[in-house]
């Protein structure tokens, strides 16, 4: 029969488990949370009202059903998402058969494991306090479960204090515990929503461009920042156009470029995007990582999608030119247009090219056409008809970067000038707190590269002609309506913006120093701390030393925290010493005996001792209980203690 105390302790265990579940509530399917909630309410109701809990058979049946449901939903029981859902459901079922202390401990353990799963899932700075709170809750629940009648408030205080003591060790272990490179096993990751730049572009089919305030990457420059009109971050280069969609080409082998102009060295912290693209300032001169390919189009293509925060050092030059002329194949690829579509655009291109006289002048003329043609920059353009480019250039004249880049490239190609679309990001917001540029998804951009004989691929940004401010100001400033109401509100207040920047800087620090702390960083840190050739051995020793130091500190701290109530005063210590000495005669003082009684007992048992012992004991009684002269008392006590020290019993 469970007592009220059992119910209380069950409540705490359920809270620890529930806290763990809450960390996943936005990740697991809603039915998982709902089922867990129902089971939780069911179990808690059974403690108060006469609600029946299912029998053993029903519980096994439920467990099998739950496993099947997870299997159906996730097609696996392995993997973080499926495993978390399964753990949540099984732990909730465990609630139904929680009767003993051990069962409640299991619930707390499940709460801790859910916390671990949450850590594996997301490591943002925003969630770190939540994780800490859940750890605290679990530890407090452990205390309530372990000791009957232990009050919750005291448990929270105790768990908090214990975790506080544990914190230095956690930091030490974090820094010194050897991180092994590589994986023992790998769980398949869940299929998460794909954010970031895609490697196709179909501007005509988009009715409304949704922009996101999410961060694409942060860039920290070693020297000066590139000027705003040079902050083009190069991404996928698109060659193939089928009349509606731009795609990457089949990957022709282009000749290497020659770099000139100022070199920019910088550090990029790329947010997870689940694409294989890495980004660099136009134009990257080398691959920042062996696992990343610098393509002939000077794109950075990684072997694997960017699943976690990724850091790299990049080197770019803003001046670059192709050393060799285009191959025939490239010439063909970059002037290809599908079929006989968009006749008006073709006619316009031919006319402009004929008037211009040179390719460079033709580019200028085409830009002039866009500038003076009544074109409008908008994130909510009309959808275009089947002859997309004609429709755009001669009817709607409203669009965003994709429209302009697409139409401009078609104009170039129609006149036989090789051109291609480059996608990426433009600009970036300066964060004065962190000292870096923040590039957001809303900074996504598309521009054009035109081949001019003699100078190679030249960047042309037709959007900049239509909306010149886009070069120097972010899309957010330009088109606030493109953002969600909340983001706009945040952006509206300067003080909030400052706060946001601070927060972002803190995030940057967190990601760089905490989330991405690994073996390499560890070794670097040790070398900076003065260990010359820091390797695993040094790491181990440093760690062991730190551990011992911490243990000693904790032991000492606890000792002084508990301590003895009061140290016995000198008189009491002298008396204790006297009793010890007299006790060696064979007759120890019984706890109930006072000094005078003890003296009498001693005198009876050992008459030889009687004189000395009784005198000293009486002296003690007088000092302790007699009328005290404050002026001389301390000296008398000292003298008594001295006498006791010198006492030698026969």
């Amino acid at each position: 029969m469970p007592t009220r105390e059992d119910d209380r302790s069950l409540g705490w265990a359920a809270a620890a488990l529930g806290g763990g579940m809450l960390l996943h509530v936005d990740r697991v399917p809603a039915w998982v949370s709902a089922a867990a909630l129902i089971l939780l309410v069911w179990r808690l109701a059974a403690t108060r009202a006469r609600v029946h809990l299912p029998g053993a058979f029903a519980r096994v049946l439920l467990a099998v059903l739950v496993a099947i449901a997870v299997l159906v939903r996730f097609h696996t029981l392995n993997g973080l998402a499926a495993g978390t859902a399964l753990l949540i459901l099984m732990a909730s079922l465990k609630l139904l058969e929680t009767w003993r202390r051990r069962d409640r401990m299991v619930l707390v353990g499940a709460g801790l494991f859910l916390l671990l799963a949450a850590c594996l899932d997301r490591q943002s700075l925003l969630r770190a306090p939540l994780y800490l709170a859940e750890a605290w809750l679990c530890c407090a629940a452990l205390a309530v479960v372990a000791t009957d009648g232990f009050p919750g408030r005291a448990a929270l205080a105790l768990a908090g204090r214990t975790l506080l003591y544990a914190l230095p060790l956690a930091v030490l272990l974090f820094v010194f515990f050897p991180r092994f490179a590589g994986s023992f096993w790998s769980l398949p990751r869940g299929d998460e929503a794909v954010t970031g730049l895609a490697d196709t572009m179909s501007p005509g089919s988009i009715g409304e461009l949704t922009t996101s305030y999410d961060i694409a990457f942060r860039a920290r420059f070693e020297g000066a920042l590139p000027p705003p009109q040079q902050r083009y971050w190069r991404g996928p280069v698109l060659h193939d156009f089928d009349g509606a969609t731009w795609r990457r080409g089949v990957g022709a082998r282009g000749a290497p470029w020659e770099f000139s102009g100022p070199a920019y060295r910088y550090h990029i912290a790329l947010e997870p995007s689940h694409h294989r693209w890495w980004f660099a300032l136009d134009t990257p001169a080398q691959s920042p990582d062996p696992a990343v390919l610098l393509t002939p189009d000077y794109e950075l293509l990684a072997a694997r999608p960017v699943a976690d925060q990724t850091d790299y050092e990049a080197l770019s030059y803003t001046g670059a030119r192709a050393a060799e002329p285009l191959s025939d194949w490239e010439q063909l690829e970059n002037t290809h247009l599908p079929g006989e579509r968009n006749p008006r655009s073709r006619a316009l291109a031919h006319e402009l090219r004929a008037r211009a006289g040179s390719d460079a002048a033709f580019v200028a003329a085409a830009l002039e056409f866009l500038r003076s043609g009544g074109f409008v920059y908008s994130l909510e353009p009309e959808k275009l008809g089947p002859e997309q480019i004609d429709d755009f250039l001669f009817r709607t004249r409203t669009g965003f970067c994709g429209h302009y880049a697409s139409a401009f490239t078609v104009l170039m190609r129609a006149a036989g000038v090789p051109a291609r679309v480059v996608t990426g990001y433009l600009g970036g917001e300066w964060n004065p707190v962190g000292g870096y540029l923040v590039v957001r998804q809303s900074d996504a951009h598309a521009w054009v590269e035109v081949w001019l004989a003699g100078s190679g691929w030249r960047r042309v940004d037709p959007t900049a002609v239509v909306a010149p401010e886009r070069l120097t100001r972010g899309l957010i400033d330009l088109m606030p309506e493109a953002l969600s109401v909340q983001t706009r509100l945040l952006h509206g207040a300067p003080w909030l913006l400052g706060l946001l920047q601070r927060w972002d800087a803190a995030n940057g620090w967190w990601n760089e120093r905490v989330v991405k702390f690994d073996y390499g960083t560890q070794i670097n840190l040790l070398e900076r701390l003065g260990f010359r050739s820091a390797d695993a051995w040094v790491l181990g020793w440093a760690f062991a030393a730190a551990l011992l130091g911490w243990l000693a500190l904790i032991a000492w701290q606890m000792q002084s925290a508990t301590g003895r109530g009061q140290r016995p005063d000198p008189l009491a210590r002298a008396y204790a010493a006297l009793c010890r000495k007299l006790g060696r005669s064979g007759l120890a003082r019984a706890p109930h005996q006072g000094p005078v009684d003890y003296g009498a007992a001693l005198a009876a048992a050992h008459p030889a001792l009687a004189g000395e012992a009784r005198t000293l004991l009486a002296h003690y009684a007088q000092l302790r209980y007699g009328v005290e002269n404050p002026a001389t008392h301390a000296r008398q006590v000292e003298a008594f203690a001295r006498t006791v020290r010198r006492l030698r019993l026969a």
């Binding site: 452990l142 214990t162 905490v514």
Partner: protein, 342 residues
């Protein structure tokens, strides 16, 4: 303690003997020092350790910093918890152990008094006899608390308690610290009152019934030293005021019924049954406010009444035929009377 393999039992016995040799005999008060406190993880602690290992592997596998930090925080937590568990007993003092006499097959209690000199409380201090259930008490800061352990005895005689286990799994149940206290506590076990024979009443007929010859009212017997439990109304305060020790005036009731209970006269063949019947009579007579005397081979108690007399009579019954009070060891059965009359 669910394991009952003979090999485990033997190991336990050897362990107990080793601890006994190592620690030696204890004398009250017993302060729990480092030297005598042992600590091991509990089952929950081992499970926690396994869970922790799994967490560490997961964290290392994914190179996930937050998971690793959580794991390390929990490692520190467990180590501090170990310290805290140890500290919960360290420095506590067992100041007194007492057990009032009990009846065989009746409920008895061993009362343990603890003192906590520390400024912090010591919740969840537990004690148990070998193989017995745990009883729990919270020691307040700089205070005392008492804990009662249930005792059971199958036979009359002396129940010898040689070993006590003091333990605590506070605060988190991951570790259990414990110590053994070796004390020689003897609990007197009265025979279980039994039998339905009528009590022989010999009202005023026995010559021993009037040792002091007076009729009617209570007669003043004399003075005896004060003992715990004596009524303050009976204390000779006047004598105390003159500087004498605390004395209690003893009276004897007269004029009531009187029984003389004689072992030899009980018409039962089995001596144990006779003792049980005598115990029943003593309890009944005392309950009825009567005077009674007891005669056993070699022992005679003059008729009287009162708690002290009752105790003397029952003690005589308990120890009848048990003449060797030398201690003997009984490692597993902490609650077995060792000198029961067979």
């Amino acid at each position: 303690m669910a394991v009952r393999l003979p090999f485990v039992a033997a190991a336990r016995a050897r362990m107990a003997a080793w601890v006994r040799r190592r620690q030696g005999e204890d004398a009250l008060p017993v302060t729990l020092t480092r030297r005598r406190l042992y600590i091991l993880p509990t089952r929950a602690g081992v499970a926690f350790g396994l869970l922790w290992l799994l967490m560490l592997l997961a964290g290392l596998n994914y190179g996930n910093s937050l998971a690793l930090f959580l794991t390390f925080l929990l490692a520190g937590f467990a180590l501090v918890a170990m310290h805290e568990c140890h500290r919960n007993l360290l420095g506590a003092t067992l100041v007194a152990v007492s057990a009032p006499p009990m009846f065989a097959r009746g409920a008895g209690a061993l009362s343990l008094s603890f003192e906590n000199a520390a400024r912090s409380a010591r919740p969840g201090v537990q004690a148990a006899l070998d193989g017995g259930p745990l009883a729990s008490v919270d020691l307040p800061p700089q205070g005392r608390a008492r804990l009662e352990l249930p005792l059971a005895a199958a036979r009359r005689g002396i129940l010898r308690i040689e070993r006590l286990r003091l333990t605590s799994a506070h605060p988190f149940g991951l570790f259990r610290t414990w110590t053994w206290v070796h004390l020689d506590v003897e609990v007197l076990v009265y025979p279980q009152p039994a039998g339905s024979l009528a009590r022989p009443i010999a009202s005023g007929s026995h010559p021993g019934a009037h040792p002091h010859g007076s009729l009617g009212g209570d007669e003043w017997l004399g003075l005896k030293p004060f003992r715990d439990g004596d009524s303050p109304r009976q204390v000779a305060w006047k004598a105390y005021a003159r500087g004498a020790p605390l004395l209690v005036k003893e009276y004897v009731a007269t004029g009531s019924d009187l029984s003389l209970l004689d072992f030899a006269q009980v018409p039962l063949p089995d001596p144990e049954a006779r003792l049980a019947q005598l115990a029943r009579w003593v309890v009944d007579a005392e309950g009825g406010g009567e005077r009674y005397g007891l005669k056993l081979p070699g022992t005679e108690l003059a008729p009287n009444r009162g708690p002290e007399h009752r105790h003397r009579c029952l003690a005589a019954l308990a120890l009848h035929g048990i003449d060797d009070p030398a201690p003997a060891s009984a490692p597993r059965a902490g609650a077995r009377p060792l000198h029961a009359h067979a």
